[in-house]
């Protein structure tokens, strides 16, 4: 593959991720609205939100790290997208693989945490403390899933994982081969996306939206962009690990939206868990399922 070709892919992959991410955000908001018997926002609302925030006149900065934090949060995800193969484009997926991707996905969290830390607002810091605790909670089942998949397919390269699944057809998909790990992953998924019922760290009424408390204008806009990437990355990762990746763009996108929609529409009707309950929940059911799934995979 020529360098020019590769560079084109590296540019295209984050852009596609952002666009798909915008629609994922729209879908989430629509879903939430429909469950609460509202109409929900129009088609381009997520984009309008971001443009509005970037164009605002009042932009409050609490210092350099506040700004760098937002840059790290967005930039980390832009980099992460190039490690996620999509139909027809592999980017640099062979240079990193599954474990690298999992750790690159922590860079934006750390960036956001630093940015919030500089704001000197206790509500923000409390939010970050809760968010990091939640990360500690959901990463345990997630890491079992990663191990299971890597062991099952004998590789940590995402391109190989996809190739193996597509060769064997539906029967070779991760969801058929490792159903228990798939369920464990699905339980962790809403927490990884920071959605219902695991979003105690934003708790508007209690800690004034936590990490977002001092964020306005392009700072909040950056977080919106980060959210688009976040939904996209996690959904695509699950499609890659369990649903055979994408043969073509149509089936790929259907799978991506389904992965995001199904667990969230179930989770939406639950009330929020407290932080310690998030830990309890995440360290119990998905971990039990994950360990059983691992036993099946390795047995």
């Amino acid at each position: 593959m020529s360098l020019q070709h590769l560079l084109t892919e590296l540019v295209l992959m984050p852009i596609i991720a952002f666009v798909v991410g915008l629609f994922l955000v729209l879908m989430m908001r629509k879903l939430g609205a429909r469950i609460q018997r509202r109409v929900g926002p129009p088609l381009l609302q997520p984009l309008y939100d971001i443009l509005k925030l970037y164009g605002k006149q009042t932009q409050i900065s609490h210092g350099l790290i506040h700004e760098i934090g937002i840059v790290m949060a967005v930039g980390g995800y832009i980099a992460a997208e190039t490690f996620l193969p999509v139909p027809g484009m592999n980017g640099i997926a062979d240079k990193g693989g599954l474990v690298t991707l999992a750790y690159i996905m922590m860079v934006p969290s750390l960036g956001l945490a630093m940015g919030v830390g500089q704001c000197a607002n206790p509500n923000g810091s409390i939010g970050i403390s809760r968010a990091l605790t939640a990360m500690f909670a959901y990463d345990i089942p997630f890491i079992l899933v990663i191990f299971g998949v890597a062991y099952q397919y004998g590789t940590t390269s995402l391109t190989d994982v996809i190739a193996i699944q597509q060769q064997q057809g539906m029967a070779g998909w991760g969801v058929v081969q490792m159903p228990l790990l798939f369920i464990a992953g699905l339980i962790a998924l809403p927490a990884m996306m920071g959605k219902h019922p695991f979003e105690i760290y934003v708790a508007p009424a209690e800690i004034a939206t936590g990490p977002m408390v001092e964020m306005g204008g392009k700072f909040l806009g950056g977080l919106f962009i980060m959210q688009c990437f976040q939904y996209y990355t996690i959904s695509v990762l699950f499609v890659t690990l369990f649903l055979g990746g994408g043969e073509n763009w149509l089936t790929f996108l259907i799978k991506v939206f389904a992965v995001a929609a199904i667990p969230l529409s179930i989770a939406y009707v639950f009330p929020r868990y407290r932080t310690e309950d998030v830990l309890r929940m995440m360290w119990k059911w998905p971990v039990i399922l994950g360990l059983l799934g691992l036993a099946l995979v390795m047995g």
Partner: protein
């Protein structure tokens, strides 16, 4: 006279120089220059590190009762020696300027500090150069006492605590050596290695077990870790940076020597533990994983920055041992590379915290905050250090941990893998608390006038930060040395390239990873600045739920930073190890009381009888 002799003489000269320079102003600088000289001498031996020459022998030999003591350097010794001397040079550089002055003013003796540091380096070099088990033991004792001297500068009480552990360790090692000598009839490495293959499992259990316990005490393997944290945290800052970087790794060096070079990890696999499915290797791997998990979670609870770091130092040792006992090319490379990586970021973290202590006088995380605006370079050093410690890209800590993770996946050990990841996540939580409570959040009124640390402290920190980043960008720089070490101790050798490793089923190329990450940050910066102009506001100008904030109101969140987590895992902290230690101490107390009672009553005939029975018993058996 070989290069090795010159290096050792130079190291001895450093001690002498430190002694004569005393408390003079130039003392620290002159010692630093000689350390740099040692580093140059080591670099002249770099053929060892790149596998061009296999060993450099010392011309000095001692013969005592027909036993030949000799010294030599191979790739393993060179790798550890290079880290040791580099760490000492940077620590000395860091201490030479403003810090030394402040230390003198507080009544400390720079002479003692410099001598103690130089003695540590000398002792370690002698240890690393040991050519058979007896010289290893001599070097070991030198290191133990030198460490004691450095620790005693901080707190005599904790240093004594260490000393008790060190003496127990030395006795255990001596016992293991005696057993080796009885079984093999020699203490030469090659002869022991040859004979080890023929020994039965029971002997290997005893010999290997005793060696691991003895050396593990230095490395603070669980459950022998209690001495380390308090002692390191109390040591004067640059000394703590040096000790935290490399001192404990001498235990790892010796364990690699014994387990890998002499016994062989494959042998450990053939030693099952009755009634379990585990082998001796699995036991060691689990000890390593517990050494990762428990100290890391304990670090999470600390509110003193230095103790927090010292606890992490114990935890990171677990990754090294784990990688080495997995013993494939990836895992052992990860374990060995982690020695280097850990030295770099642990040193920079201790230095950064020391710089904060130098300026503010405290390392209590509840009494700091917001220092980024006053000490931005120290912040940068700590940031790069914590990313390395947490093992996130793009820093070097990620590469070594990635190698360990990868080998555990290949090895098919999900629970060990899970343990290492729990360690990493716990580390992320605790290092965020460290940087948040020190440099982020609200600046206290009394710290308004704080300035950046002096250049003599900032430069070594920046240098180390650059090393952390560069070896993360081009891990091949370190992997070259690591591959030579693997070849020297008989491990499978890693095939590497400048950016990491190629592998059919999932490689790593850090050049790409880091470049893409930096490109991502660059694009994100462009996106960020495409928005409207932002206005900087004062730290008190924020949303306080309708209150007006003033400078004398603390508006900071630092104490009990993770209440949700502690609510759940708080009850797990039971100080079980501390109680175990206390139990052991009371038992010893009781025994010594009994013994002294016997002694005072005086029953010579009874003693004689006991002695005769014991002797007879031994002879008959």
């Amino acid at each position: 006279m070989s290069l090795l002799d010159k290096l050792l003489i130079l190291s001895l000269l450093t001690v002498v120089l430190a002694l004569f320079m005393g408390n003079r102003k130039m003392a620290g600088w002159s010692v630093t220059v000689v350390y740099a000289g040692q580093l140059v001498a080591l670099w002249m031996m770099s053929g060892l590190g790149y596998g061009e020459i296999s060993e450099i022998r010392s011309a000095v030999e001692l013969t005592i009762w027909q036993y030949r003591l000799h010294w030599q350097f191979d790739a393993l010794s060179w790798f550890f020696a290079f880290i040791t001397v580099a760490a000492a040079m940077l620590a000395s550089w860091f201490s030479a300027g403003g810090w030394a002055q402040a230390y003198r003013e507080q009544g400390g003796s720079i002479r003692l500090f410099n001598v103690a540091l130089a003695l540590n380096v000398l002792g370690m070099l002698v240890l690393l150069a040991s050519g058979e088990l007896l010289s290893l033991f001599i070097g070991w004792e030198l290191v133990s006492w030198a460490t004691f001297m450095l620790l005693a500068l901080g707190s005599m009480r904790y240093a004594m605590h260490y000393l008790v552990y060190a003496i127990v360790g030395a006795v255990v090692i001596l016992a293991a050596m005696l057993m080796t000598y009885v079984q093999v009839g020699s203490l030469e490495f090659n002869q022991v290695a040859e004979a080890a293959a023929g020994l039965d499992n029971t002997s290997i259990w005893w010999i290997g077990g005793l060696f691991v316990i003895g050396f593990g005490i230095k490395m603070a393997l669980l459950p022998f870790h209690l001495w380390q944290t308090k002692a390191y945290a109390a040591t004067p800052g640059p000394g703590a940076a040096f000790l935290g970087a490399i001192s404990s790794r001498m235990g790892l060096f010796a364990i690699v020597l014994i387990l890998v070079k002499l016994i062989g990890i494959s042998r450990l696999l053939e030693m099952p533990i009755s009634f379990t499915f585990l082998s001796a290797r699995d036991l060691l791997a689990w000890v390593a994983v517990f050494t990762i998990i428990f100290p890391t979670l304990t670090a999470l609870r600390q509110h003193d920055a230095r103790r927090l770091l010292a606890w992490h130092g114990i935890g990171q040792g677990g990754y090294m041992l784990l990688g080495i006992v997995v013993a494939d090319d990836l895992g052992s490379a990860g374990g060995l590379m982690h020695v280097f990586n850990h030295a770099t970021y642990q040193a920079v973290l201790f230095m950064s915290v020391t710089a904060v202590v130098y300026r503010t006088g405290t390392s209590d995380l509840n009494k700091l905050g917001g220092l980024f605006t006053r000490m931005p370079l120290s912040f940068l050093a700590m940031l790069i250090g914590i990313i390395g410690l947490a093992g996130l890209p793009p820093m070097n800590g990620f590469v070594s941990k990635w190698l360990v993770y990868r080998s555990l996946i290949i090895d098919g050990s999900p629970m060990l893998f899970l343990g290492t990841v729990i360690g990493t996540l716990g580390t992320i939580l605790s290092v965020y608390k460290l940087i948040h409570n020190t440099f982020l959040g609200q600046l206290r009124l009394e710290h308004e006038t704080v300035e950046e640390a002096p250049l003599s402290m900032v430069l070594p920190m920046m240098l180390l930060s650059a090393v952390i980043f560069t070896t993360g960008f081009f891990p091949g720089l370190v992997l070259g040395w690591v591959a030579s070490v693997q070849a020297a101790v008989g491990l499978p050798v890693l095939a590497y390239h400048a950016g990491g490793i190629d592998s059919a089923n999932g490689g790593l190329d850090m050049i790409w990873v880091v470049s893409v990450l930096l490109a991502g940050f660059a694009i994100a910066t462009l996106i960020f600045f495409s928005g409207g102009r932002s206005r900087r506001v004062h730290q008190l100008d924020n949303y306080a739920g309708g209150h007006f904030l003033t400078a004398d109101t603390r508006y900071q969140y630092s104490d009990n930073f993770y209440p949700g987590l502690m609510h759940l895992i708080g009850p797990w902290y039971r100080s079980s190890f501390k109680r175990m230690e206390q139990g052991l101490v009371s038992m010893l107390d009781f025994l010594s009381m009994l013994a002294s009672g016997w002694h005072r009553h005086g029953h010579p005939s009874f003693y004689l009888l006991t002695l005769v029975v014991v002797v007879l018993f031994t002879v008959v058996m």
